[in-house]
């Protein structure tokens, strides 16, 4: 019994030395639930959805968050999916807000819960190019609420146009700045193109 206890203590200590602990485990709380197919999708409901992701952080390649207004794992090293922190990245947030399918040929409306960990098949450049059945390029001058501006490296959705000619953009911006609504001038920046989602119902 003494040997058992002594070795148990040693084993316990060893377990902490080796790689038993992954980098973060926020993703362990996320789900793999199927999305809910919906017949409606309004721009203001999309505003509700994206607005609720504010302050929940940013995770490169991510798409899972809760609603506690805190980034559980801020300031991870950028461009590492393996950090498994909270939040979406820019294209993941757009994909979930726009209720898209993981199958690029489907253009239906699929409601993903916040804790459903899904990024979707598009990066910012794919959105910019209007890839996938639900997406299309729009003229920037006519882009409206919950359309988006995308470059080769980033995408943000129009929360609302602003008085001085810029836009309030809801976006998962970066590890240090997280997900929030920022005033941006993407509309007039030639690095960005306009992109929209087919199928708004109001």
């Amino acid at each position: 019994m003494r040997a058992f206890l002594a070795m148990a203590v040693a084993g316990f200590a060893l377990s902490g030395v080796t790689g038993a602990q992954a980098y973060h485990r926020f993703w362990a709380n996320c789900t793999a639930d199927s999305p809910t197919f919906m017949t409606t999708m309004t721009r203001d409901a999309a505003q509700d959805y994206a607005n609720a992701a504010r302050y929940e952080g940013y995770q490169w390649g991510g798409g899972c968050w809760n609603y506690d207004d805190v980034d559980s794992y801020p300031n991870d090293p950028p461009q590492e999916t393996g950090t498994h922190g909270e939040g979406g990245d820019c294209s993941g947030l757009t994909f979930k807000t726009w209720r898209e399918s993981t199958d690029t040929w489907r253009d239906g409306r699929y409601y993903w819960r916040a804790l459903r960990n899904v990024h979707g098949p598009y990066d910012a450049a794919a959105f910019r190019d209007g890839n996938g059945a639900p997406n299309h390029v729009v003229a920037k001058a006519t882009a409206g609420v919950m359309d988006a501006f995308a470059s080769g490296t980033h995408i943000g959705m129009i929360f609302v146009r602003s008085l001085y000619g810029g836009d309030q953009i809801v976006e998962a911006k970066c590890e240090s700045c997280g997900t929030n609504i920022f005033y941006r001038t993407y509309r007039s920046d030639s690095a960005y193109g306009g992109v929209g989602r087919w199928g708004w119902t109001g």
Partner: protein, 448 residues
């Protein structure tokens, strides 16, 4: 030494196994589990693009969007709202119920302003409250409500400036380069971070003091670089500076507004003086005062008074629609549609002069609008889906005094409205390239 017996060896092995398993399980529980899924706070927000300058006879529809806690059924909020309107800028408000429409692209809730108010010679002022019926949460817009309502004035007899189709590629070269630094972290260099995949970030803002000193916010290296009388100095600053806006105050202090909405005041030596959260959730521009253009109110809000920070309630109460100009007047500005800009210079509540600028090429954001001589300097962006350039307009009492284009390309991202400053009647531009950051000067004609 006694040889270990089989039972001891087995017990030891079992102990190690039990210890490792126990350690792994406990580690997993402590890290993986359960980060609770919070029900979350009740969310309420609103959107509105104010009707600041209207044309006589123009139908005015005030539109609002209501943003709430997402519903489990994926539908929009079940909301309602009231607009409080009055003719002119004093007297009691009268309540009008918002209508709920089928479309939310421009705001689901709307009110057509009654003709007797819309046609008022003194314009009108208004605020709104919106309510989420599911939670009972309410929001006022502007956030100061009746204490600081939105102002709308008729644009009477404006000088018309038709820009036509913008000619890309005919940009003006600067008259002088007043500051420059290569990328790096040495005293004479400015910091750069990022990657091709994420984009680059460098100096996010700058300012030019009345004596000609150029201050560049070196966000990456945590300092202000100062070009003064031919010498380069720097002042170290602490805190988040990435994509921050910046203003140099007349007393030698610095204001830094970070992207999380906290304004920090620093003494001339860089030591922190105070920090204050903004009243609204989003900001567009910081100017001396300090005063910040905030959203969703779309108003200029003072963040300090007599050197001390204002509370968030104090910011809301002190908010104003018009921007204060250096000449003591105020400016109302309204970017309308794809290619129109309306401007009215005010003395008190009375319009001194007004301009209506139209363009066949879409117009983007107004980067700068300041008094200059007896007129204004306006810098805005003209764009198509493929190209963009800044357009500089000098406006006077007879219309357009001077017009030229300025290249807009930048290697790094800056604060949104921090590319231009006007000082001593000269226009300054912050620009970055693959090799470094620069501040260039453009001399302007002076409207009489």
């Amino acid at each position: 030494m006694r040889r270990p017996r089989f039972r001891s060896l087995a017990g030891g092995a079992a102990g190690i196994a039990a210890g490792v398993i126990g350690g792994v399980v406990l580690t997993s529980v402590s890290t993986a589990g359960p980060t609770p899924v919070a029900a979350g706070p009740v969310l309420i927000d609103a959107t509105h693009v104010p009707a600041v300058l209207t044309l006589p006879g123009e139908a005015i529809r005030l539109r609002y969007g209501l943003v709430c806690t997402p519903r489990a059924d994926g539908l929009p909020c079940d909301g309602s709202g009231t607009v409080y309107l009055r003719a002119g800028q004093s007297g009691p408000f009268r309540a009008y119920v918002l209508q709920r429409g089928d479309e939310s692209r421009d705001g689901r809730y709307y009110l057509d302003v009654p003709a007797e108010i819309a046609d008022s010679r003194d314009g009108f002022s208004y605020y709104a409250t919106l309510r989420d019926e599911a939670t009972g949460a309410t929001v006022s817009l502007p956030s100061g409500g009746a204490d600081a309502p939105q102002v709308s004035l008729p644009l009477r007899e404006p000088l018309t400036v038709e820009l036509g189709r913008h000619l890309f590629g005919a940009v003006r070269d600067p008259d002088a380069r007043v500051a420059e630094a290569g990328w790096g972290s040495r005293p004479d260099e400015v910091g750069l971070v990022g990657s091709r995949e994420l984009g680059y970030s460098g100096p996010s803002s700058f300012d030019v003091e009345p004596d000609g000193t150029v201050d560049m916010l070196d966000s990456v290296n945590g300092r202000v670089m100062r070009w003064a009388r031919g010498r380069l100095e720097y002042v170290r600053l602490a805190g988040a500076l990435d994509l921050a806006d910046f203003a140099a105050e007349p007393d030698g202090s610095f204001d830094v507004l970070d992207d999380a909405g906290t304004l920090r005041s620093f003494r001339a030596d860089g030591s922190p003086r105070w920090a204050q959260k903004l009243a609204d959730r989003t900001w567009a521009q910081l100017v001396r005062g300090p005063t910040v253009l905030q959203q969703p109110s779309e108003q200029w809000m003072p963040v300090a008074q007599d050197g001390a920070p204002l509370s968030r309630a104090g910011q809301k109460r002190g908010a104003h629609t018009a921007k204060h100009l250096a000449n003591g007047h105020a400016l109302l500005l309204d970017r309308v549609g794809e290619g129109e800009l309306r401007l009215a210079e005010l003395r008190g509540n009375a319009s001194v002069q007004a301009w209506r600028i139209t363009s066949e090429t879409p117009l983007g954001e107004v980067q700068l609008a300041e008094s200059h001589g007896n007129g204004l300097v306006v810098v805005m962006r003209a764009y198509t889906d493929e190209r963009d350039e800044f357009v500089v307009l000098v406006l006077g009492s007879r219309g357009l005094v001077q017009r030229f284009s300025v290249a807009s390309g930048s290697w790094t991202e800056t604060a949104p409205l921090a590319r231009f400053r006007l000082s001593r009647g000269r226009l300054y531009r912050l620009r970055t390239t693959q090799t470094g950051a620069f501040v260039d000067r453009f001399d302007l004609e002076v409207p009489q």
